[in-house]
Subunit: 101 residues, 2 copies
């Protein structure tokens, strides 16, 4: 399992439209190969800043199959108009998970 982390800033006042666009894109993700769920978080310290965490079965499910597939343009058409800057994307592997007591 791989976790994609997208740090992104939306244009002032575009928060609700951006969140609606992400929700509208759910079918795109659900049909994507290797998609294993996602969370959209609002960063408290910086208005208009979001962190999207997307779980993929493999790194290539995102970098090759999703980015190289026909749905990537559809995803960007939905959310891209709300971006204030290009999003910053990294990927990570889980090193440890800690539950509460």
């Amino acid at each position: 399992m791989i976790q994609e982390c997208v740090e992104l800033a939306v244009k002032p006042g575009a928060e609700a439209a951006f969140e609606a666009a992400v929700a509208a894109a759910l079918p795109i993700f659900r049909r994507a190969r290797g998609f294993r769920g996602a969370e959209l978080h609002r960063v408290i310290e910086t208005p208009g800043h979001y962190r999207m965490l997307i779980n993929w079965e493999t790194l290539e499910d995102h970098t090759v199959h999703f980015r190289g597939g026909p749905d990537f343009a559809a995803w960007r058409a939905l959310v891209g108009p709300h971006f204030a800057a290009p999003p910053a994307v990294t990927h990570a592997t889980l090193a440890a998970r800690f539950t509460a007591a």
Copy 2:
């Protein structure tokens, strides 16, 4: 629920010691007020870079009670020696969660 996100870089070669230090700190987190679980991720694109996601019941559970409490020094004593730079911390609220199909 609040998610703290810590972006941190460890000194070259300190990865295993850092991961062991985080594991050793688990009792500290488990006794912390409002702690609701955590994940440690290794960032693929940058060797030695980690992302730690920590869930808290409230923002103040982290910023006031944990940082201002006696266990914060114990946590930093465990992991701080491995840091290559000061960690970058933000907090976020969940806007949406998407499950796989």
